[in-house]
């Protein structure tokens, strides 16, 4: 495939506080690209920027600089109501699509796809008791099988969370303090110093 | 939801008692310090209140602009007498038809709405009619109203009676009241009555079991306005004039008060009791003190605070308590 699925190109997002004396309270930087369908596991502590990154990818949040290309289209140039044809953000149990509307529709391009190509699952509620995990994982695999790109984002606090990640994901991204570290498989991921640091005891149990 | 006695019959014992009291009224009304004309007004407002309660008490639809249809009835009666011909039947039919027509048009706008939006639209339409009655003064006589409306003789084919005395008028009005009571009693116990009661309790479910809720809401509003029109026509006959202020928001509020004080939400007879109590209290207080509004308002507040289900409701509660001690019937008093 000539066009990469997802290109996150020198993306930068800053949050600041104060009107006159601006202080940057949080910044996120990302620069990566994913060429083909996969299930990507994303981990990181709360507040590290996972959700912000998802919002930037689905176009519901404006980047400070850089751009996001989904299937070759700059997501921020696509019509608001059609962005979900490219990338879609699942928040726990429902899907969110809210946009800061800044431009009229006619200035934007339509989406080229009919069904979302990039699926971003933001902390799905995994509960071993009710048995739904199995169906969710099947769903991830089904999407992957249909040629989509799937992101699963988690803040692991139980050993089985890591098991899920290991079982279902092919690639990994670790996010901490607004910066990303990529890893090609689970073993490489957990060898990383900051990851071990963050997961601590969970890695050993898993 | 409504009272228990004789639900299936055409005529019931409470009806007979009510009729008996009302029929005998002219013989004792003066001796209790009242006057015949008050009886006429009370019975007319009873008809109005019964029709209104079809909407409020049975279907749960609050209308705060019902005076408009009462007023339309009054004007239609007056105009037909003044401009077409003097005939009681023509007048009353006009009153009913025009009020129902106005009601039907308004109901078409209303019937998709619920709760506060429903109530507000009734106010808005009521105000529009009220406004028109003043604005269109070439026809309605403006704020002076339609004056010198004749009170035609009652012509029933083979005989003709003069209604110029208040006693005669009273019996005529009472006869119509009897017809309305019997008809409404029948109606609320018919399938139609059951459906509107169902709509009051659960409008959505009624739709989901296949009823055209819109059509029922529309028809019950129209029916209720037709009765308001009938009452309005009789009122014009009693007053020999028609005034716009029976259409005002204030007047529309009073019918709501009347019905609720009487206990229209829980009893068929609530509006009847309410109309009687309302006029008696007002007449008493109004002649006793210039600040009658204060006492009236306080009485009203006390009623809502302590006996929100109204006089009929309080009575039912009283009876229920008595029953509970005898036969242990634990059916609760419903809203």
């Amino acid at each position: 495939m000539s066009v990469p699925f997802l290109e996150v190109d020198n993306l930068r997002k800053e949050y600041s506080r104060g009107l006159i004396n601006k202080r940057i309270t949080f910044s996120l930087e990302a620069n990566f690209s994913i060429e083909e369908p996969a299930i990507v596991g994303m981990m990181g502590p709360n507040g590290s920027g996972k959700t912000t990154l998802f919002e930037l990818i689905t176009g519901s949040n404006l980047p400070s600089s850089g751009r996001v290309m989904v299937m070759g289209q700059n997501i921020h140039d696509v019509r608001y109501d059609e962005r979900d044809r490219l990338a879609i953000h699942y928040h726990q149990s429902y899907q969110v699509r809210s946009f800061h509307r800044t431009r009229p529709k006619f200035m934007m391009q339509p989406a080229d796809c009919e069904y979302p190509m990039v699926h971003l699952f933001d902390e799905p509620q995994f509960n071993t008791q009710d048995g739904y995990i199995g169906f969710m994982l099947d769903f991830f695999r089904k999407l992957r099988g249909e040629g989509r790109l799937v992101f699963v984002c988690l803040h692991p606090n139980e050993p089985f969370h890591l098991n899920i990640m290991r079982e279902v994901c092919e690639r990994y991204i670790f996010v901490r303090d607004g910066s990303l570290t990529l890893a090609d498989d689970f073993d490489k991921l957990v060898e990383l110093e900051p990851v071990r640091d963050y997961l601590g005891r969970l890695v050993d149990v898993a | 939801m409504n009272n228990n006695t004789g639900f299936g019959a055409w005529i019931t014992r409470p009806m007979l008692i009510t009729f008996a009291i009302l029929v005998s009224l002219p013989f004792w009304i003066d001796s209790v310090g009242l006057y015949q004309y008050l009886g006429v007004e009370i019975v007319i407002w009873m008809v109005y209140a019964l029709g209104f309660n079809l909407l409020l008490g049975y279907t749960g639809l609050p209308s705060f602009g019902h005076g408009a249809y009462f007023g339309i009835g009054a004007y239609a009666f007056g105009l037909s007498q003044l401009h077409i011909t003097e005939s009681i039947w023509l007048g009353l039919i006009c009153a009913i038809l025009f009020a129902a027509l106005g009601g039907a048009i308004v109901a078409a706008f209303l019937s998709h709405r619920r709760g506060i939006y429903y109530a507000l639209l009734t106010i808005a339409f009521g105000q529009v009619f009220w406004f028109l009655s003043i604005k269109w003064h070439t026809v309605t006589g403006g704020e002076d109203g339609l004056l010198n409306i004749p009170r035609p003789d009652l012509n029933i084919g083979f005989a003709s009676f003069s209604l110029s005395s208040n006693e005669a008028l009273y019996y005529f009005v009472l006869a119509l009241f009897v017809v309305v009571v019997i008809g409404l009693w029948r109606l609320v116990h018919s399938p139609y009555g059951t459906v509107i009661k169902a709509i009051k309790q659960n409008e959505m479910r009624t739709g989901f079991i296949g009823y055209n809720v819109w059509l029922y809401k529309w028809s019950v509003f129209t029916l209720s306005t037709a009765l308001a029109g009938l009452a309005g026509g009789m009122f014009a006959m009693a007053q020999e004039s028609a005034y716009p202020d029976v259409m005002s928001l204030h007047a529309s509020g009073f019918i709501v008060m009347m019905v609720l004080i009487g206990g229209g939400m829980v009893s068929f007879w609530g509006p009847v009791i309410g109309a009687a109590v309302y006029f008696l209290a007002r007449d008493l207080l109004g002649s006793a003190t210039e600040t009658w509004l204060l006492w009236y308002g306080l009485m009203f507040m006390a009623m809502v605070m302590f006996k929100p289900e109204g006089i009929a409701g309080a009575w039912q509660g009283f009876i229920k308590r008595g029953d509970a001690s005898t036969d242990g019937d634990k059916k609760p008093v419903t809203r």
Binding site: - | P62, F109, H112, R113, R114, G115, I116, Y117, L120, L121, I123, A124, F125, Q127, V128, F131, K135, L249, G253, V256, M257, L260, M265, T291, L293, L294, Y296, G297, L298, M299, F300, M301, M303, V304, M305, F306, P308, R335
Partner: protein
């Protein structure tokens, strides 16, 4: 072009009028939105605010000893400001009393709250009549905001612009209070979920008491502001409660922004019809309501509310 030049003053006037309408509706909206009580006594309390203010401004020497004399010596502006603060507080206390009466109606059909306040409206109006007589009264305004000025060749009332500006300030303050303070958050929570308020450990009956008092105080504030324009008589409140009602429904029950926008919309409608088809100016707001509600079932910004059931 001439038409536009002629129209402009009416647009300005309409917006000013609309802001006054919004102020009138504000307290009503709060009580409807949070407590789901349609407070028909809003109008009477509106009038009561005007009367209290008149009394506070009109204190005469010797009434309250030295403190009273000191007060009488203050400039008119200061006394007026006192009235603007104390009047609503006093009416707020009356409102608390009314709220206690209302308690029995909570959880029942909203009709009962509506009827109780209808009764209260009669009582308050009659009490005003007993206390101050049924005649027309006059609320004095300080010289700084009285009089008129000329703008674009037309005479404009200074007070009206003060009143419109005051409305804007009051609206913004109430908005900030609701949106930016923890109290506001609690009130809004109470509007949507009384269970949650209880879970948060907040005394719901106290919350309702204060919200009602606050809403009623806003009614009084509007009454004080409107008194120099509409005049002051026992039944002046009737003129306030209907527009308030209308605006709330037009804007959508429970929507703050909706109420403000609807207020301005009604003001513009009444103002412009007042200029070009004055005989229809009163009717126009009802027609506006009918049109809007026909096409938008819950008003401009309405959300689902218990009052619909």
């Amino acid at each position: 072009m001439d038409f536009l030049i002629n129209l402009t003053p009416h647009l300005v006037n309409g917006i000013a009028l609309g802001l006054l309408f919004a102020l009138i509706a504000l307290g009503f909206m709060l009580i409807v939105g949070v407590m789901e009580v349609i407070n028909l006594a809003h109008g009477s309390l509106f009038a009561l605010g005007g009367y209290f203010a008149m009394m506070i401004i009109g204190v005469e020497p010797g009434w309250f000893g030295p403190l009273g004399d000191w007060y009488v010596g203050l400039p008119a502006g200061a006394r007026y400001s006192f009235a603007l603060v104390l009047g609503p507080i006093a009416v707020g206390l009356v409102g608390m009393l009314l709220e206690l009466c209302l308690r029995g109606t909570y959880g029942k059909d909203p009709l009962f709250g509506l009827l109780l306040t209808f009764g209260a409206a009669m009582v308050i109006e009659e009490l005003i009549r007993i206390g101050w007589g049924s005649g027309e009264q006059f609320l004095q305004t300080p010289p700084a905001i009285s009089g008129a000025f000329i703008w674009n060749g037309l005479i404009w009332s200074t007070y009206r612009f003060f009143a419109a500006g005051f409305s804007v300030a009051a609206i913004i303050l109430v908005w900030l209070f609701l949106e930016r303070t923890p109290y506001g958050a609690i009130i809004k929570a109470g509007a949507h979920d009384s269970e949650m308020v209880r879970a948060l450990g907040i005394n719901l009956s106290q919350l309702r008491l204060y919200v009602f008092a606050f809403g009623v105080a806003l009614a009084a504030l509007a009454g004080i502001i409107m008194a120099p324009i509409w005049g002051l008589r026992p039944h002046v409140g009737v003129d306030a409660v209907i527009p308030a009602f209308l605006i709330i429904v037009l804007g959508g029950v429970g929507s703050f922004v909706g109420a403000v926008i609807a207020g301005v919309l009604v003001g513009l409608t009444v103002g412009i019809t007042g200029a070009y088809a004055s005989e229809w100016s009163l009717m126009s707001m009802y027609l506006l309501l009918i049109v809007v509600i026909t096409f938008r079932a819950r008003g401009l910004f309405g959300k689902k509310s218990m009052l619909e059931n």
